[in-house]
């Protein structure tokens, strides 16, 4: 056996990086790429053997399934780019293409005899709601006016990086301020929007995972605007396509990535980051960690020693509500969408009208009916995402994580089957489409699956809930006061901007820029790349 070691392993030498990014989810990947692009010596560590976290894909038989994405917002168009497209195309220049999905959604609420297809475009949206609920037009138009006002204000707040000028806000962004303290329902009621129209307008609530009676209006408005004006987009080759492109870019820019490496400890001394300890038994030095891990896990488990965590950090975590988690049924069907009669890309099927009632159901017993589902037929956006004559459909429903806490291992597989069966039945009933006898591949991912692959706290997919008091706007305004460890930033779904692809991608950029600023201020780095 000839085996030449060309470069001895140097196990003993302690490595140092300007920044260590913990976790290669959407946030961590963008953070690492942004820093690498600035010439910062950055190391990205990921416990799984793939980039992406939730943003991934997997293969079963002749199908490659998207793990989590329904549609990516904040892309805008090539002419009118929005945040995510600017990150991908202008700032990072990654090799990934995206395809616009055909319509915003079809919402079906049998109980209220609603079945409406909502197209993209503000005018088209307004017309579709008016057609379904005659007389709603005025309120919907006023709603869009508000949404626009709020958008302008959010841009201002975003740019202020935690330093908002109150006078300027009052003068130029009054509607933002006046709605800022309210939940979606309160504002739509004030607009005198008919209840039925509200159901249609708020159908995306399940992407935010909190009922409209509590959901911050500001946040809902921001999200709806980017979808309806900029469209919903999906990556050409599943999420694994763009996360692998990010991985490639990080390396090209001089960043380093190591997979199968879990950060077990974030080392802190006198309130300052000093390094990390990995599952490989290595200590790596750094003064800056960007955690694509929840503050819940970081403060309660990972910071070492735990005496370095101030009491207020636990309070912050405990004051907030952890978001919901999901169950997804992935189906590889042996007929095309056309043969099956699947006409739409995205279905919201709600067996009850009120989001409160639907959310409540998600906190009850697991085997009870789960009346909210968001279902996507990927071929309606990417016709060749599966072989000719086949199609991919995935059905998603929401749960409070607590519901899964007492599941017994011996019941787990049967439970998956039971829940999947019911979701498939619900889909068939609501749409009159039969899929049951065309199933060639089926996989069911549960909160346990998500915890297994990403190690996320309690299987939570949706970060912290966007209650009015804990909305993204309030978090961004408070972010400078809510940092308890010097050198520690968060990105990803649990960071200030909240969950969802676009938010977590952008959170990586923000965390990288804040860290960069600190590196410059502390003179840890000199010249930076433009």
């Amino acid at each position: 056996m000839t085996q030449i070691t060309t470069n001895s392993s140097n196990q003993d030498k302690i490595r140092f990086y300007n920044v260590i990014v913990a976790g290669a989810g959407n946030g961590g990947l963008v953070a690492a790429a942004t820093l690498a692009r600035k010439g910062v010596k950055v190391l990205l560590l990921e416990q799984h053997n793939l980039p992406g976290g939730f943003a991934s894909s997997f293969v079963r038989g002749r199908f490659e399934f998207e793990t989590s994405l329904h549609e990516l917002c904040s892309m805008g168009t090539s002419d009118e780019k929005e945040g995510v497209r600017r990150i991908f195309e202008d700032q990072l220049n990654i090799e990934a293409s995206f395809i616009q999905v055909p319509e915003a959604y079809r919402v079906i609420i049998p109980e209220e005899e609603l079945d409406v297809i909502i197209p993209f475009g503000v005018q088209e949206f307004t017309d579709a709601v008016e057609k379904a609920v005659p007389g709603s037009k005025k309120s919907v138009k006023n709603f869009w006016q508000l949404v626009e006002d709020i958008h302008n204000a959010i841009i201002y707040v975003g740019r202020s990086q935690g330093k908002v000028d109150r006078i300027e806000m009052l003068r130029n962004h009054a509607n933002f301020i006046k709605t800022g303290g309210y939940a979606v329902d309160e504002v739509l009621d004030a607009l005198k929007m008919p209840l039925k129209a509200q159901r249609i307008v708020t159908a995306y609530w399940c992407y935010l995972g909190i009922p409209t009676s509590r959901l911050s209006f500001t946040i809902f408005a921001g999200m709806l605007r980017t979808y309806i004006k900029g469209g919903g987009w999906v990556p050409r080759y599943r999420s694994h396509g763009f996360t692998t492109a990010l991985d490639k870019r990080i390396r090209e820019l001089g960043g380093e990535i190591e997979y199968n490496t879990r950060i077990e400890k974030i080392l802190v001394k006198d309130g300052k980051i000093t390094g990390v300890g990995t599952s490989k038994g290595e200590i790596i030095r750094t003064n800056h960690v960007i955690a694509n891990i929840s503050p819940t896990a970081v403060y309660n488990k990972i910071i070492y020693p735990q005496t370095e965590v101030p009491e207020i950090a636990y309070k912050l975590v405990n004051a907030r509500t952890h978001g919901i988690t999901l169950l997804v049924v992935y189906l590889g069907l042996d007929k095309s969408a056309e043969e099956l009669g699947i006409t739409d890309y995205s279905y919201f099927i709600y067996n009850k009208g009120s989001s409160d009632a639907l959310y409540e159901e998600g906190t009850k017993e697991l085997t009870k009916s789960h009346p909210a589902q968001a279902t996507v037929c990927l071929n309606k956006a990417i016709p060749d995402c599966s072989p000719p004559g086949t199609s991919i459909l995935y059905i998603t429903t929401l749960f409070r994580p607590e519901t899964w806490a007492n599941v017994k291992v011996e019941d787990y597989f049967d439970l998956k089957t039971e829940l999947a069966t019911q979701l498939i039945d619900d889909f068939e009933q609501a749409t009159n489409i039969t899929i049951r006898n065309s199933i060639e591949e089926i996989e069911v991912a549960t909160p346990i699956t998500f915890a297994h692959y990403t190690k996320v706290y309690n299987g939570v997919i949706y970060g912290y809930e966007n209650d009015v008091w804990d909305s993204v706007v309030n978090r961004l305004q408070s972010m400078n006061h809510e940092k308890y460890i010097d050198g520690l930033e968060f990105c990803g779904g649990f960071a200030e901007q909240g969950h969802g692809y676009s938010s977590s991608l952008d959170s990586g950029r923000l965390a990288a820029l804040v860290t960069l600023q600190k590196l410059i201020e502390s003179e840890e780095i000199g010249e930076i790349r433009k």
Binding site: M1, Q3, I4, N7, S9, N10, N49, L50, R62, E64, N142, Q145, L146, A174, N175, K178, G180, G181, Y182, E186, V187, A190, L191, Y237, R238, H240, G241, T244, K248, Y259, N260, R262, K280, N300, Q306, I312, K315, L316, N318, A319, D334, P401, W404, A405, V407, V409, E410, Y412, T421, S438, E440, E441, I442, I448, A451, H452, Y457, N458, G459, N474
Partner: protein
């Protein structure tokens, strides 16, 4: 438009109170630590990183087959064996000692005991000794009661799914490929799995039939749930009820209703090749046929498209693995994974069939040959130069980056 929600002053006041309210809420919140994470605890029970097991019993099945009973190694932190679905496999991680050298390799083995027995605290695996087999020969010589074995969590997708599959299962097994069917048979006959199984089991000789007594007895006691049809390829057949020859479409159709069944196939590579034409002639949709992986392709030179002129070549692979940079030799007819294991690198792997993606590595430069049937890569991985070393053969010098074991 200027909106009023509850009145101008109230609205502004509500807004200006948001941050003070936030501060107050945080101040008033509990400062208790969160110490439990029930969902990750459950995930870890189902999918432990490593299962530390110990051989508690060994049964001789045939002259070339043994069953090893595995229980938690109580010297480790493994307290129970992970639950699974009948048909899944374990990837064993073994230090094979040859002379002075130790090679850390993996091998996949279907669990031959049933899920309900895992709840009682054990697995069984049944290994057929292969001529020149690297692990099986080592195991034969060295594995005793008390030997410790590392295993992955249960893996693979060769299991009955009540939503997808017909509850009438036709099993086509060959040689050691009976193992997942034994797991299913036990689960079915104990009433834990709501399906019935008709197993066509091919062996080369009467003496080579694995689990003959067990299947005969189960079939006798549960005629509604289990049928076994032994098919023997030897010259003389003396055992009652056994058929001569190979498993053919005709035989299958004689004993089972193929149109109302799901077919599950598990056996050696040669059996798949033979069965392909037989199964094709049944004209069934893809969803009715599920096939277990068969591991590395042994005679890669017989694969269509393999460059035969390169078969004798030995190439050099430059490997970056963690902080190490190494150069290792590689035969064109052995997988990149085997070359790495021969060089004692112990990269991650599980299925060794191209399917699970656990060995996913980066091809920086050079050419590899992958048989289409064992190319389980994601589309983007193909585009961005990632490959699965377990199903890739070097056909030039290579430069690769391999992840270290978790």
């Amino acid at each position: 438009m200027r909106i009023n929600i509850k009145g101008n002053i109230r609205d502004i006041l509500k807004f200006t109170k948001l941050i003070p309210e936030r501060i107050e809420r945080i101040q008033n919140a509990s400062s208790d630590k969160i110490t439990s994470d029930p969902i990750n605890e459950l995930a870890f029970k189902l999918h432990p990183d490593t299962q530390h097991l110990m051989i508690s019993d060994i049964f001789n099945e045939t002259k070339s087959t043994k069953t090893f009973k595995l229980v938690p190694d109580l010297d480790s932190n493994t307290r129970h064996v992970a639950y699974f679905r009948a048909g899944q496999y374990l990837s064993l991680k073994v230090d094979v000692i040859k002379g002075k050298d130790t090679y850390r390799i993996t091998r996949p083995y279907s669990i031959s005991s049933s899920p309900f027995e895992a709840l009682k605290g054990f697995y069984e695996i049944t290994i057929k000794k292969t001529e020149g087999g690297f692990l099986s020969e080592f195991a034969w010589q060295n594995w005793k009661v008390g030997t410790k074995i590392e295993a992955s969590d249960p893996q693979g997708f060769f299991y009955y799914d009540p939503i997808r599959d017909k509850p009438s299962i036709i099993g086509l097994g060959g040689g050691s490929g009976i193992t997942p069917f034994r797991s299913m048979a036990r689960e079915i006959t104990s009433g834990k799995m709501n399906a019935n199984l008709t197993l066509f089991y091919g062996s080369s000789d009467e003496e080579d039939i694995i689990f003959f007594e067990e299947f005969s007895a189960l079939a006798k006691n549960y005629p509604e749930k289990l049928k076994i049809i032994n098919v023997l390829s030897c010259e003389i057949v003396t055992l009652a009820g056994c058929l001569e020859g190979f498993i053919t479409a005709d035989i299958i159709q004689t004993y089972a209703d193929v149109n109302e069944s799901s077919i599950f196939i598990c056996g050696p590579q040669a059996m798949y090749n033979f069965l392909k034409t037989e199964i094709d002639s049944l004209n069934l949709p893809t969803k009715r046929i599920r096939q277990e992986m068969f591991g590395e392709i042994k005679n890669i030179t017989q694969c269509e498209g393999f460059p035969l002129d390169k078969a004798e070549n030995i190439y050099t692979i430059k490997v970056k693995m963690g902080k190490q940079y190494l150069e290792v030799p590689a035969n064109a007819t052995e997988t990149v994974l085997v070359a790495l294991e021969r060089a004692k690198l112990a990269p991650p792997s599980r299925c060794r069939s191209g399917e699970c993606g656990w060995c996913r590595s980066r091809l920086i430069s050079g050419d590899i040959f992958i048989s289409p049937e064992s190319d389980g890569r994601r589309i983007a991985d193909k585009k961005f130069g990632y490959f699965h070393p377990c199903s890739s053969y070097p056909i030039s010098n290579l430069e690769i980056e391999v992840p270290t074991e978790f």
